[in-house]
Symmetry: D3
Subunit: 130 residues, 6 copies
């Protein structure tokens, strides 16, 4: 169970509802996932986190789908179960196909492997990369 509980819309303060409303409007959805309901116990973290996510995940030099896949890549490397589930869902909604997911996983797996080969063999950084 979430440490400080989950705050439903009906029980939320106006300050929290405002964030919930913006999440739903921005994501064009009619529900709030548990992550936000858990953060809602600390309205300042809720607001700051949502504001940052909204700003960062908006399309810019990178597309929204690319950003969602990057989010999955990090979450998988960190073994965060909640984040893998939620951001895989978000990436699918943003257009990630099964084939794209499979390639994403292949890259993430390979990167985790070669990260350790590079460190384990104590490879020095090439001058050209500095």
């Amino acid at each position: 169970m979430a440490t400080l509980g989950l705050i439903e819309y009906a029980d939320a303060s106006p300050e929290v509802r405002e964030v919930y409303d913006d999440i739903m409007a921005t994501r064009k959805t009619d529900w709030i996932n548990n992550f936000w309901k858990a953060l809602a116990s600390d309205p300042s973290t809720l607001r700051r986190t949502w504001k940052s996510i909204k700003e960062i995940m908006a399309p810019g030099a990178l597309e929204a789908l690319t950003k969602e896949m990057l989010y999955v890549a990090v979450s998988v490397s960190n073994q965060c179960g909640y984040c893998i589930a939620s951001h895989t869902a978000a990436a699918r909604k943003a257009g990630m196909t099964d084939a794209m997911f499979a390639e994403l996983m292949a890259v993430v797996g390979m990167a985790n492997e070669t990260n350790r080969l590079a460190s384990g063999y104590q490879v020095e950084i090439d001058e050209r990369f500095r």
Copy 2:
């Protein structure tokens, strides 16, 4: 210094040179970076790793640039200095602009933050994400 040393092209066995040649041809470059020179002490790992990388990083459902940025995202999450340096260079070569790099970093940073918020608040996975 690399644990088993670095094997230069001039000193490499035909088996290793074959891999080096394929790396240079595939990447349209005339040099081999230290990672491969370090792995060359174990030709079977050199060959298997290169073969996997070549297959995985080729454009498919995802573009080569997207794949390189995913590689950077994982390497940064894992704090692998060599890999951050080499794959940032590779991503730039594949077309990553400064603006794209900056957005990539913003997403990676944010994902690492919310991964811990989700775990720390012990958030249960929503039914809709299962």
Copy 3:
């Protein structure tokens, strides 16, 4: 299920019971949590781990509550579900309020973010910090 099973007090050897008794006396509690029951299959690890924990977590230059919060910070960064649950409970028992927990999470999240920004941007350590 715990790999080597859980050893209950009633089934424990005198050597294990001695540790269990000390845990309960030190913590002013009447039960043993699963972590210790799992380690009990290896009495030497049980004894060494408890002895170290007891020594390290006792108030000293840092208060017991601060130490418990540090424990939570590490467990969250490492995504250890068991440890997050047990040490959050321990920190609450030691006096952590909801407001303190919320600030703890905010710091842990932020630190995980800036750790990756620092590495990803390949920031050199300032001379003044050396």
Copy 4:
């Protein structure tokens, strides 16, 4: 070398200078460390990150020193060299003595050990912790 370079005060845009000025004023210091100079290539990340750090690290339910030690705990667990150096310096400035640092390290080391013992023994979360 930092991926996008380091932006010195003299070369900074008014937008970046404003953040630099606030960092120096808030921290009562007359210099900017490399982390911020590296982020300055992306003014929106610079501003957002500083704003979050300023808000999160201010004394509240937890003291500033406790927060700095939590930051060190996370950075050490993640093996971020830059962050360990900079936040250890910050914690010292906030009043961390050698004895406090030593206890901090002991807790961080122990937590990293028991995190793996808990996972490795596949210990189930006790009902009382849920």
Copy 5:
């Protein structure tokens, strides 16, 4: 539930069945665990991963049991629940006794502790180790 589902032998393509058959023959077993059934949605990753595992885990300079224990050590450090469960089972099948498991855990726990002590104290690498 696995993101792309689990492919049972009865529903598998000839290409996937060929891998499944080789897994069962190599491991002298009559079933396929979920990991492979999940990867089967991407036959090229299934094939490449199995081929690499088969090559790497075969006895060579290191015994099969040692390799399985190394696999457990990494999985525990990374907190991968599935991998801890499956490779602990594999190590037991390869001959790991309870006493060996207990020592394995003790080493993994200790290594995770001293890894952080070394980083946290910012210890420089001795000349003799370079």
Copy 6:
């Protein structure tokens, strides 16, 4: 530079010298590496850590060499530069050949890859592994 400095034998207290002497006697060597000199600023952590290491790393159900290789596997997964350097040296001293090192790296790399494939594909643990 090590945060609290390095304490040389000549400058050490009798309590620290006693640990140094035991390290050198146990390891049949005539020098102390930086890790211990850094911990020496906190004699209780120095003593406790050495005592634990000595107990854990002694041959038992597992050979000393196997234990050293497990230590390297963990250190590489955690990307701890100091630990990789020192424990690779220790493993070599304990008899690890180049071929054994190469296989060790191959296993560690592969385990890090499949750890993420298992998590990324959200694979459920098989009933048989529970």
